[in-house]
Symmetry: C2
Subunit: 254 residues, 2 copies
DNA sequence: GAGTGGTCTAGACCACACT
DNA sequence: GTGTGGTCTAGACCACTCC
């Protein structure tokens, strides 16, 4: 063994963990912590590998996994960037409603209601990991596709995480909601889980979607998660599936 | 340049294609062609790399992608195997119904009907890529979870691909349907696409599921695909979502 | 102990994007 | 042209499984 063996301080929880996962964690911490904000270019791979004291292949392995999770984006010849929430990402990663013929489109959003209140909904509390009675912001949207009302959203977020979220800000937002969460509140949604059931449209939803009460509609309950699988948003979407459908591919293509 | 440059014949369509993709294609052809049947162990990575005349890293890159697509399975210390359709794979890759509290379970299947007929359903014809009037096998299943009837399936497959498929064979099958397709008919389902809508239960489905006609239910239309995205099965599932739900995770975890 | 996949290294050269 | 990510090579050693 060489006398001056290289010394790399490793976090205690990293014992026995592959080196590329240690590097991945370090990158995640930097992104979470704001040292690498969304849209920022990472240092070149060779430079990063040098900074971490690992081979470039090891660095690439770590980056590969983050790219697969849509946390980083590689652009050949240009660099590697921290992913941002733009319209495309919304459409392909988080919006699963399309017309029966396969047409995909960014929906037009109308804000229908807004309230800052104490949470009473136990299911929402469980999904958000907070207690009943905590302050939340709740608001309702109507989404139109090709001009038709298709989706009603009831969105609940903890007031603590979204200080300063007002009706005005929601109304004036330029892009998608997750873009707003990211740019204004520093919260990046990295994945979501959805549970779908069929229900009869109640009066309120029927009015918003312009359908007869009792019409079968999809009810999609979504938990949106940020780093570390921390829940940051709970959403109940009601989808009118006469002309549109909820789609998914099981097992991604190459 | 050395006088005896190594010569590797490449398929014309592989011009400009990365070497690891050429290797991947070769592996896929071997699996499709039956030289590597489901369950078979691949030669060791070092041996395979040698056979292809590529570095082991390149071979691993090709295998990595096939593992990500669930076409190969790696088992450390043992070897790499061509994936088979067992109960676990069915449950996690293709069966998305679970109880509201998250309980996942392999359903009990009852065969309710079987017919060999000329296809009239235009939507099914389009999904299967065959013409109206072609011979198909259609059959119906009822799926129970915790003893309750929860799902009704109407499955359509081209008779040409499933020669010798009889009611008896379906009734006697030991495992999942995709296991039967694979072991008896040499057809491996590698992925599927699903489109979901809410409808009112018609009389037939209501009787099978033990619910009132008109109850809102999920209608899931699935196209199951084999290699090269060739459709091999069309399925319309009707799901009673009082106690169970259709789930999905958007963007996989690490 | 022998054989397998899993990790890590240290380089080289290619393809692409911007200027 | 310069700098970036993308591909490919050729090894070494580790961790796991089975005999």
């Amino acid at each position: 063994m060489p006398a001056a063996a290289s010394f790399r301080p490793i976090a205690p929880e990293a014992a026995g963990m592959p080196l590329y996962r240690v590097v991945k964690r370090a990158l995640l911490r930097a992104i979470e912590g704001g040292e690498l904000p969304p849209g920022e270019a990472l240092p070149a791979e060779a430079a990063l590998a040098g900074a971490f004291g690992v081979a470039i292949g090891t660095l690439r392995h770590a980056v590969d996994e983050l790219v697969a999770e849509h946390i980083l984006v590689r652009r050949q010849g240009r660099g590697t960037y921290v992913a941002t929430h733009d319209a495309d990402r919304f459409l392909f990663q988080f919006f699963h409603v399309e017309r029966s013929d396969g047409l995909r489109e960014v929906p037009q959003v109308e804000l229908l209601g807004f309230a800052r209140e104490r949470l009473e909904d136990e299911a929402a509390a469980a999904a958000l990991g907070i207690a009943v009675g905590e302050m939340v912001v709740r608001f309702e949207n109507r989404l139109r596709l090709q001009g038709r009302p298709v989706v009603h959203d009831l969105i609940t977020v903890p007031a603590l995480l979204f200080k300063g979220l007002t009706e005005k800000r929601l109304r004036e937002r330029p892009g998608t909601i997750y873009q707003l969460w990211q740019t204004e509140y520093g919260i990046t949604v990295v994945r979501a889980q959805e549970r779908v059931r069929a229900v009869a449209a109640d009066r309120g939803v029927a009015r918003v979607l312009g359908i007869t009460p009792g019409t079968p509609v999809l009810q999609v309950r979504r938990s949106a998660l940020t780093f570390g699988d921390k829940p940051v948003e709970h959403r109940v979407s009601t989808v009118h599936t006469a002309v549109h459908e909820y789609v998914q591919t099981l097992s991604r293509p190459a």
